[in-house]
């Protein structure tokens, strides 16, 4: 019987085509918004978490500034000083400290010049950490020799930034020649794969950034509790800062284990998604009110028709069902109509990001997100149709029949 009610509902919608389409448009806009934003924020979350997962569990990240002030840290106005790095080195349980240093420089290869992120790597002391804990692997060629002007490039450099780049050729950075000795395997993120890695000492002399680092990574020695060492690093850094407080003002530090980092990032991304969803939902709610309006109008117009249906034996539940199917169809078509361009836009933004290295974002299009979108819009449709449907069902047949158009 459901099939019959479905047919009746579709006929009703087609009788009022313009209004049906306008109502559908209201839902399309909301779902479009939700789907594109949700897909992008989910993609962002996936990318970031995937990168963090690649980091070993015995790794601790140290940043200046507190978590509440994380933007300052990210923008990089605060740095870890050389003194800070030494304190971390001296903390019991710390096996090795690697400063994370990077800077954008203009790199010239053959006749092309482009801005590429340079990454200073402590190859002399920490090669195994880069390989084992950070997932850097050589695809072709080999590692740069410490102290020599040699570079390794990320996997995207020879394909997208300088197409056709080969090893054993030369590039020019700030007037100095460097030899490309290796191409890395993909590390799974656009930023990492677009960088140019060189020995730390060489990096410092080329960029002129001789001291400190925006952040540092410490590997914890076997047999120590990562959590515990992270705490003592933080305590040592802050004690030192307090001692200096008289002249420089107090500094705070954030020390994360890789697990805590994943948790924090996952949390932030979760909040972003909730906010995105909330805003999109407002748009869908407006669309839902549109459905309700249309359905109430429809009930008024069709009062007589409802009376006829009841006279020939339609139950209240049948009337409710027919109206719910109508509003559900509006919701579902609106959902479908919003989803396709919404996810399309997200994919378009992703494609745009692949051309521009700085603006990297991935759009996540999963069956889950599609099913969720369709169920959500269908649900909004049914919910908005419920009250009009109930008011239709409540009409007394004799009163409904008495109303003449």
């Amino acid at each position: 019987m459901l099939q019959e009610y479905f047919k009746i509902a579709v006929k009703n919608l087609r009788t009022r085509q313009l209004r049906s389409w306008l109502t559908i448009l209201g839902i399309v806009i909301g779902v479009f918004l939700i789907m594109s934003l949700l897909s992008l924020s989910q993609g962002l979350k996936n990318t970031v978490l995937q990168q963090l997962k690649a980091v070993g569990t015995d790794i601790v990240m140290i940043m200046p500034g507190s978590v509440s002030d994380i933007m300052t840290t990210l923008i990089g106005s605060v740095k870890l000083s050389e003194e800070d790095l030494n304190i971390i080195r001296k903390t019991p349980g710390v096996k090795i400290v690697i400063p994370s240093v990077y800077k954008g420089e203009i790199v010239k290869y053959q006749n092309e010049s482009k801005t590429v992120i340079l990454n200073g790597l402590d190859i002399r002391n920490a090669l195994d950490v880069y390989i084992d804990d950070m997932g850097m692997k050589i695809n072709t060629g080999g590692w740069a020799v410490p102290g020599k002007r040699e570079v390794m490039v990320g996997s995207l450099v020879p394909t997208e930034i300088f197409p056709g780049m080969k090893i054993n050729t030369l590039i020019n950075i700030k007037g100095k020649q460097f030899e490309i000795v290796g191409i890395l395997k993909s590390m799974g993120s656009k930023q990492d794969d677009s960088m140019l890695g060189m020995d730390l000492e060489i990096y410092r002399s080329v960029t002129g950034e001789r001291q400190g680092a925006p952040q540092a990574v410490a590997k914890i020695a076997a047999g120590y509790s990562v959590e515990q060492v992270a705490k003592s690093i933080k305590a040592n850094l802050e004690n030192q800062a307090k001692r200096r407080a008289g002249r420089q003002g107090e500094n705070s530090y954030s020390v994360f284990t890789s697990e805590a980092m994943s948790g924090i990032v996952g949390g932030i991304m979760g909040i972003i998604q909730v906010v995105v969803f909330a805003f999109g939902s407002i748009a869908v709610a407006v669309g839902g009110i549109g459905i309700m309006n249309t359905m109430y109008t429809s009930v008024r117009e069709r009062t007589r028709e409802i009376g006829i249906l009841k006279a020939v034996g339609a139950k209240n539940s049948t009337i409710v069902l027919i109206f719910l199917i109508e509003s559900g169809i509006i919701g579902l078509i609106g959902g479908l109509g919003g989803m396709i361009p919404g996810l399309g836009l997200a994919k378009l933004i992703q494609a745009f990001g692949q051309v521009h290295p700085i603006f990297y974002i991935e759009a996540s299009v999963t069956p889950g997100i599609i099913i969720f979108g369709l169920l959500f819009s269908f649900g909004v449709g049914c919910l908005s149709g419920f009250f009009p449907a109930r008011s239709a069902a409540k009409l007394k047949p004799v009163e409904a029949l008495r109303r003449y158009e």
Binding site: M1, A314, K315
Partner: protein, 224 residues
């Protein structure tokens, strides 16, 4: 004596307008027996349409009782009443009351959908009903493409869809010219004679009043 199909027992219908009460039916008692052909006559405003709505179980009385096949309809749930109405009573209205966005066949099949009949059966019965009323060429037409007489015949086919025991017709010829109206009345008479249907008609038509074996005169909400 067999149980009447529809039995009205001291039925009152009172409408409340703010502080004014208006009694449209004032204690009507009436039995509709199997196989009867009843004509309800009365001036406009006499309550004859309200009486017909009571007989058709479209309305509930303010006071008194209506029995459909021996069951008190005010004790039935709305859904059960709708189901019983769809099964036992066929309606023919003055304004035809066809669904405009369904074609003739779909309009006739509608009451059978609500009784849960399978599609093949619905289609077969609807087609044969339309054919028996001379509408075999109009099956796929919408009501707006048909004449008044054709629309009323579709409405009759719809009323017969579930093979009800009783047909309730509210001025079925009121919107038709006299020639067409006469044909519609002949169809109703034929249903009574040959199909043994019980028929209740509100009409001004003297011919049908002559044919009827039971004329009910109503005035000021009372049977006289």
């Amino acid at each position: 004596m067999p149980e009447p199909i529809i039995k009205l027992e001291n039925v009152w219908k009172i409408y409340q307008f703010d502080k004014v009460e208006l009694a449209v039916l004032k204690g009507v008692t009436l039995d509709i027996n199997q196989g009867a052909f009843i004509v309800i006559l009365g001036p406009s405003g006499s309550g004859k349409s309200t009486l017909l709505n009571m007989l058709g179980c479209l309305d509930l009385p303010s006071k008194g009782k209506v029995f459909l096949d021996g069951q008190d309809i005010s004790r039935m749930s709305e859904d059960a009443l709708a189901q019983a109405r769809g099964q036992k009573i066929g309606f023919v209205f003055q304004q035809f009351n066809l669904l405009q966005n369904l074609n003739a066949l779909e309009n006739v099949m509608l009451p059978m959908i609500f009784q849960g009949r399978p599609e093949a059966e619905r289609k077969k019965r609807a087609q044969s009903l339309l054919a028996s009323l001379g509408l075999q060429d109009r099956v796929l037409h919408r009501p707006s493409e048909l004449s008044g007489g054709e629309q009323q015949r579709i409405a009759i086919a719809r009323a017969l869809a579930n093979n009800p025991e009783i047909i309730v017709a509210d001025e079925p010829t009121g919107n038709l010219d006299s020639m067409t109206g006469q044909k519609i009345m002949e169809i109703l008479i034929d249903l009574h004679k040959n199909e043994r249907k019980t028929i209740v008609v509100v009409t001004h038509d003297p011919i049908i009043a002559d044919y009827s074996n039971q004329v009910v005169h109503i005035k000021d909400g009372q049977i006289i």
